[in-house]
C-alpha cells in the first residue's frame, strides 16, 4: 500500500519538476541548462515623456515643390510603381478639400484653394489603427510615434480601413521591382505588409531631424516635442492659429497646419 502511494508521489513530483524546468527554460530564455546567459541591461525609455509632432506652415509651400516627399521616399526606399492602384506614399500633396473635407468648403479663398497641403500619417494620440490591429504590428511607441513592426504584420489591412486619413499604403506586389534609386542605409519592405510614415524614427535615434523637415527649402516644416512647452513647435503653436485634420473624430493627431 505504502509502496503504491510512494510510487505515485514520486511519479507526480518528478513529472512536476520536469515540467517546471522545461517550462522555465522555454519561457525565460535567460534560464538555460547550458549557462550561456549574456546580460542584457534594460534601458527602456520612459513612455509618454516625449511626444513628437509636426507643424506644417502651408503658406510657405511653393507651387510644384516636391522636395519633402522626394527626400522621404528616397531615404526610406519607398517604391514608385507609377500607377495609382499600387502606389505607396508616405508623404504627399493634396488639395484643400481632400485634406480638410470636414472643414467649411464654402467661399474658400482662391489662394487657399490653389495651395498644396501635405498629407502624412498623423501619429494620432488616440489612433484607431493601433486599436484595430489584431497582432499589434502597428502600435503606439513610448514617444508618441505610431510605429510599424514589419516583422509582425499579417497584411490584413484593417489598419488601412480604420485610418480616417488614408495615410497607409499596402505592398500589393514586391516593392523591390519598383525602387528606382535605392539607398543602403535603410531596409525595404516586402510584399504583403502595410507601411506608412514613421516620423523618421531611424533618423531621430541618431539625433537628426526627419528627412522631409530637413529637405524643405522654405523651412515650412517644424518638428519637435509637443510635450516640451519651450520647443519650437510649441512656440509656433502658441503664436499661430492652426488646424488639424478631422478633429471631430477624436483621434488627437500630432500634425498641425497653419493655413
Amino acid at each position: 500500500m505504502m509502496n503504491e502511494q510512494r510510487r505515485e508521489f514520486i511519479k507526480k513530483t518528478a513529472l512536476g519538476v520536469l515540467v517546471g524546468l522545461g517550462a522555465a527554460s522555454g519561457l525565460v530564455p535567460a534560464f538555460s541548462l547550458e549557462k550561456t546567459v549574456l546580460p542584457v541591461w534594460d534601458e527602456k525609455p520612459v513612455p509618454g515623456k516625449i511626444r513628437w509632432g509636426m507643424l506644417i506652415d502651408t503658406r510657405k509651400c511653393k507651387e510644384g515643390c516636391q522636395q519633402c516627399a522626394a527626400a522621404c521616399h528616397h531615404a526610406h526606399n519607398v517604391p514608385d510603381f507609377r500607377n495609382k492602384k499600387d502606389e505607396i506614399k508616405w508623404l504627399w500633396q493634396n488639395p484643400y478639400q481632400k485634406v480638410f473635407p470636414t472643414a467649411s468648403q464654402q467661399f474658400v479663398s482662391k489662394e487657399i484653394q490653389d495651395r498644396s497641403y501635405l498629407a502624412l500619417c498623423n501619429h494620432c494620440a488616440e489612433s484607431p489603427c493601433t486599436k484595430a490591429c489584431p497582432t499589434e504590428a502597428t502600435f503606439k511607441r513610448w514617444d508618441g510615434i505610431v510605429a510599424m513592426d514589419y516583422h509582425r504584420c499579417i497584411g490584413c489591412r484593417f489598419c488601412m480601413a480604420a485610418c480616417p486619413y488614408g495615410s497607409r499604403s499596402f505592398n500589393w506586389q514586391d516593392p523591390r521591382t519598383a525602387i528606382h534609386d535605392p539607398v543602403t542605409t535603410y531596409p525595404t519592405r516586402e510584399q504583403g505588409v502595410v507601411e506608412k510614415c514613421n516620423f523618421c524614427s531611424d533618423r531621430l535615434v541618431k539625433g537628426q531631424q526627419p528627412a522631409c523637415t530637413e529637405a524643405c527649402p522654405e523651412q515650412a516644416l517644424t518638428f519637435g516635442d509637443l510635450n516640451d512647452p519651450r520647443s519650437d513647435i510649441r512656440l509656433l503653436l502658441e503664436a499661430n492659429e492652426t488646424m488639424q485634420r478631422k478633429p471631430e473624430l477624436g483621434t488627437k493627431p500630432s500634425v498641425f497646419y497653419i493655413i
Binding site: 510512494r6 522555465a24 550561456t36 549574456l38 541591461w41 525609455p45 531596409p187
Partner: protein
Amino acid sequence: MEVMMMSKKLLWIFAVTAMMLFAVLNVFRKGEAETPPPLSVHKSVAIDSSKCIAPASFMRANHMQVLYEWRNSSVRTGNRVYIASNGSKYEKSLNTCLGCHSNNRLFCFNCHSYANVKPKCWNCHLSPMETP
C-alpha cells in the same frame, strides 16, 4: 519501520523542494550587474570590430534568439543598446553584425545554404551581398 519510512518520505520531500527552489531561483536570476549606467539613446554607439558580441560557438547556436530579442527590443521597446558580457556596447541592429562581418559577402548565406535554412530577413533587409 514506520519511523524509517517517515524519514525516507521526509527526505524525498526535502530533495524535491530543494530542486524546485534551485530551479525557481535560477529562473529569476538576470546577471551579475544590477544598476545600468545612464546612456543616451540618441548618441550612435561605436562598433568594436575587434571581437564579436559573443563567442562564436554561442552565436552559432543562438544568433536567432539574439536577433529576435534585438528586433523586439529595438522596434517595440526602444532599448537599442546591447551591452555584452565583456562590457562593450553595441547597437541592436543588423548593421552591427554586417559592420563587423563586412569582409565576407556570403557571411550569412554560407551556413544557411548548408543548413538549408531560408530566413526571410533579406526580403526587407539589405544583405551583405547587396551592401557595398
